[in-house]
Amino acid sequence: MKIKALSGIAAVASVLAISGVTAPAHAATLDDVRAAGELKCGINTGLPGFAFTDDKGNWTGFDVAYCRALAGAVLGDPNKVKWVNLTGKNRFPALTSGEIDVLSRNTTWTLSRDVDLGFTFVGVNYYDGQGFIGRTALGAKSLKELDGASICIQTGTTTQLNLADFFRVNGISYEPVPIETNEEARKAYEAERCDAYTTDASGLAATRSTFPDPKAHMIFPEIISKEPLGPLVRQGDDEWADVARWTLNALINAEEFGITAANVEELAKGTDNPEINRMLGSEGSLGEMLGLSKDWAVHAIKAEGNYSEIFERYLGKNTSLALDRGLNALWSDGGILYAPPMR
């Protein structure tokens, strides 16, 4: 009877394995989205600033705003989005299986994800990196002075590996305090179970703002890893990847040209700047090339504004996350945000 049970398991497993290989390719995602009348967008189940619920139960945030802009570009209405909340584990299978059309869930662009998992990253909407927060009372000004300190880390993440690499390269000793989730790590640090705590830099500011006395904690200047976060789509549907990529570029270019949610309608009527005219559709045929309507970019920008407006609304100085633009400033303002021209 035991053998029978085992062969049953083997049969199920082999069926699952085969089905994994022959996952159907979803060729014309753009047509699918139009036919469904809604964009299926994969977002986080909750990440401060990037995806969270407001008091009315609507999803908002930096990652959410991108999908609303994409829905605006494709369907003309930023509200036609079906949110699919995904954990770190099931985000990639959800995209592969076609359960979602686009994944906008603070996902780091790496070679293996791009190539091996079969996805196409359409750009970077947030340049993140791994940072550290520690008690001001430690008296350390930089990470290199943290010799022998205990550090709270989330287990099983690249964070842990980056930390080990950095401290080995610099020949400093530390005592890791492994913790299961980010929230528990924050609590452990607050309870003084460790001297410092490390996670993505974007999360550190948010963490600091939750402490009773934020001034007693400092964020260290060193960023020890590159974490370019961006939206991604399935590989093999270049037309859809183009739409997703240029929607993101349109938001960044809109900031460069000073196009905002408030003035986009006015500017769409025509201006003296041919670049703005091409982008907003009063000149040229960029929209048709993408397979979209003439005013696709107008709807994308109208959704939540240009890149700067979105950043300031969810992450910027006036939010409790209070993040600097830093690397995420336009190239003309000292950052590395640089979108190709729209012509």
Partner: protein, 369 residues
Amino acid sequence: MTHEPFHRTHDDMLSERPAPLATVGVLGWMRANLFSSLANTALTILAIYLLWISVPPFLQWAIFDGQLYGEDRFSCTGDGACWAWLDQRIGQFLYGFYPSEETWRIDLALVLLFPALAPWLMENVPGKRYMRWFSVAYPFIATFLLVGGFGLTEVSTDDLGGFSLNLVVGLSGIVLSLPVGILLALGRQSRLPLIRWFSVIFIEVVRGVPLITLLFVSNIILPIFLPADVALNSVVRVIVMITAFASAYMAEVIRGGLQAIPKGQYEAAQAMGLGYWQSMRLIILPQALKISIPGIVNTFIGLFKDTTLVIVIGLFDILGIARAMVSNPDWLGLSSETYVFVSLFFFVVCYAMSRYSMSLERKLDTDQR
């Protein structure tokens, strides 16, 4: 009067005296239960100490220093718990993303649940016969209320969330897993090889896989098998998977009960000329289920708590809603408060189940040991 017998008598009855102080009342109870031996005394003192260091600070934090009103977490200035979110978020915790003008439908479904359950859980319910018909109709009524159609606004089941999602999934799982579990337990003992093997394979495979994997499979792998236009409802998928999972455990619990019944009972049933189903229904199962009550309720409670796993397929039960809320910059870092709140809900439901099972055991206790 030479030889008086050597005994003493009382002319009157001795008046009753109270029992010694140390054996009655609070003092006696304490002596018997808390300080009966040196080890017990030590444990009592330890327990009192632990309560002393944990309960007052908790009450101080949660109640005396707690702040009930405010716009966001910045308006909570004290050292205590910040309950200000309750005011704005209680709707989400109870109903998820269900449209707020339609939540009366969930309330109504919950109210109707009581008359639907009453004839099964209680004795002496008037009109039990007719009430049972209502119970049978209840799942359809509740589905109609929650999903809509036929005049009511249609609401996507993906919007169902919060505590009502826990209840919908938990109750459906509980109601379905008991009969399925009984059938599997009987199937495992069947003399028909096909049925026996099916039951064994089902139980062993499902029990050998974590529930989170089953949910994951239902969400990610099933859509690959099925044609693209067949969209399985995610709540239905969860209910099916949780039911399957709980039934496998249930089957083993009930098998334990079945094996505890003396062989004489089976033989007696056969001697009475009862067929298989009759003997099961009238003789074996009533006894086996009674023995299994603690195990069955144990499985129910486990199942109910497992409903929090639906977050892995993107549904927001009460715990998921709590996590999503503490990601809002306005409410960042309030996880302690929300977890306390959520555990309160689970405790109430699970404790009620456990108390009910205890009273049921007492009622059915025929002292057959």
